[in-house]
């Protein structure tokens, strides 16, 4: 199986290629440079593996949550590529990607994945280890203040934290969770290599969508006030 994944939802910009079990990745911390980098990363990965886009089985992308514009860059690029090459698409959560990395790097099985959403809020979700070494969502992904964060306590009492919200709101999170968090990785950003790994499983489970249905998940939807409520 061959899948290409990209992510531009945060300050990180990355692309990864999965070819029959082997993952190669291009990753760069590049705030505001995503539009300059992402297509070249894709080209470099395909060239390195000497493979054409059309020879792939599917495309995947970090569909959010994250910076609105960042999420839309990956969405636009994937929509364009998928439409032109008639490839199916797997939208993968950036929170899942972060949780997956915490497991891959440190074998943490219960991870509160959280990305700083600005405006005193965060995008967050609880992930736990499922089958095949892949992290699975427990409950829902949400956007809220740190005070409203709740762990899926029926799963475990031993949690780890990963993602930029653990940098911005670590005090509030520790206070509200009421447990000692095992380990914290505040510098974790989504990687396309984690996304492609999750996408392989999603693809096998038939979760691929067509290009026009490859849409962002913003979580934050109250972005403007209507006239009546102004």
């Amino acid at each position: 199986m061959k899948i290409l994944a990209i992510d531009t939802a945060t300050e990180a910009c990355s692309a990864a290629l999965y070819i029959d079990g082997v993952i190669t990745e291009q990753y760069q911390l590049a705030p505001r440079e995503h539009t300059k980098l992402i297509l070249k990363m894709i080209e470099a990965l395909l060239d390195q593996s000497d493979i054409e886009l059309l020879a792939l089985d599917a495309l995947a992308f970090g569909c959010g949550p994250g910076s609105f514009t960042g999420v839309r860059i990956a969405t636009g690029v994937i929509q364009g590529l998928a439409f032109a090459s008639d490839l199916p698409v797997l939208p993968v959560s950036t929170l899942a990607a972060i949780a997956q990395q915490a497991y891959d790097d440190h074998q943490h099985q219960y991870v509160l994945s959280a990305i700083d959403a600005r405006m005193e809020e965060m995008y967050w979700a609880c992930y736990h280890l499922g089958d095949n070494g892949l992290m699975k969502l427990a409950g829902e992904e949400k956007v809220s203040s740190a005070q409203k964060v709740k762990l899926a306590v029926d799963l475990s009492t031993s949690w780890s934290g990963a993602g930029s919200a653990w940098e911005s709101y670590s005090e509030q999170l520790n206070a509200v969770l009421g447990i000692q968090v095992k380990a914290i990785y505040p510098d974790y950003l989504p990687h396309a290599s984690s996304i492609v790994k999750l996408a392989v499983d999603d693809f096998q489970q038939g979760k691929a969508v067509e290009a026009s249905q490859a849409l962002p998940i913003y979580l934050r939807n109250d972005v403007a006030k209507k006239k009546a409520s102004q």
Partner: protein, 343 residues
């Protein structure tokens, strides 16, 4: 050469297919007017979100309408600025990646160049050199056009664009959104000469515009009439008429100055306000007196559309211009920075 054009710089998603041999093959448009109407103005984030939802379905639609498959495309053109950053990004990311995957060139199109060349999509096309009056919700400018990409700015608005002044004045008079066209319709019922509004910056030489004062003048007039117990639809219509007459007169006076200054015989009007019938009529009369001719695009190509982007993109692709493997958009992009196209 068959080119797909993508426009997403503000609140319309426009797609079109232009063939340099056969002309315009198809164009489709999704307007977000109703979406933003609830907010009383364009909400940039919502505009971007809407573009993402509609871009591919519209692409499918325009290809079907043109009777071609995507493999028959020779290039992809998209608006790369000026405009709303997030909105531009949607069309540029999708368009650039689409071209990459199809193995065809992409080209970044200047939104205002698109507007300026829109009259070329009609049967009778203006010949270079000409003077162009671009009037929309975001821009008001006069330029001398010597050829594709050879634009010399003669004058521009120092504050509100003409379309913006229309919309803001309409809002202050409580006419709803988008107010410009509503104001123009109401003006038809207004009595000519009921009020005399100033013709801003016409009493001095130069080709720059200023429209923000007219909006204040309208509001003051409306408030004064309201205080005197004349708050009714006829008063409103009379103010609309006085406002529209002042804007139209100003645009006509400056356009006449511009063609006289550069010695042109042809005037081209483009942009959303170019759909205003009173403006078209007055400019036509003026050009006849000057012994010249006025050109304008059909009404639907005055406002934002994919056709003008496909057309301008096709000309630039023919001229050998292509985008590198990167997505470049610019919220601000002076027209003077465009390169001339030598075919």
């Amino acid at each position: 050469m068959i080119v797909l054009g993508i426009e997403s710089s503000c609140d319309e998603t426009g797609l079109a297919v232009y063939d340099t041999e056969r002309g315009l093959l198809a164009d489709v448009l999704h307007s977000q007017v109703a979406l933003h109407g609830e907010y009383g103005g364009v909400v940039p984030e919502l505009a971007s979100r809407d573009h993402v939802r509609y871009l591919l379905p519209l692409t499918e639609q325009v290809l079907t309408k043109a009777g071609i498959t995507k493999s028959e495309l020779d290039g992809v053109a998209y608006t790369a600025g000026p405009g709303l950053m997030g909105a531009l990004m949607v069309g540029a990311c999708t368009g650039r990646a689409m071209a990459m995957a199809l193995g065809i060139p992409a080209v970044a199109v200047h939104h205002m160049e698109g507007h300026l060349l829109a009259p070329m999509l009609e049967e009778a096309v203006p010949e270079f050199p000409f003077v162009a009056l671009l009037v929309s919700g975001g821009h008001t400018l006069l330029a001398e056009v010597k050829g594709i990409g050879q634009y010399e700015l003669l004058g521009e608005s120092l504050d509100d664009a003409a379309g913006e002044a229309f919309d803001k004045t309409a809002k202050m008079l409580g006419l709803g959104y988008p107010g410009g066209p509503i104001l123009a319709r109401l003006a038809e019922q207004g009595e000519a000469g009921a009020y005399r509004f100033p013709r801003p910056m016409c009493d001095r030489p130069g080709l720059d515009f200023s429209f923000s004062g007219l909006k204040t003048f309208s509001l003051n007039t409306w408030q004064k009439e309201t205080e005197q117990g004349n708050k009714n639809e006829q008063t409103q219509a009379n103010i609309c008429r006085a406002f529209e007459d002042a804007v139209v007169d100003t645009l006509v006076i400056k356009s006449r100055r511009a063609i006289q200054q550069v010695g042109a015989k042809t005037l081209v009007i483009a942009g959303g306000v170019g759909a205003n019938l009173s403006l078209r009529k007055s400019l036509n009369t003026m050009m006849q007196k000057e012994g010249g001719q006025l050109f304008y695009p059909r009404i639907e190509f005055c406002t934002d559309n994919g056709a003008m982007i496909a057309y301008a993109g096709a000309l630039r692709l023919l001229g050998g211009e292509t985008e590198p493997l990167a997505i470049n958009v610019r919220a601000r992009w002076p027209m003077s920075e465009l390169d001339a196209v030598v075919n």
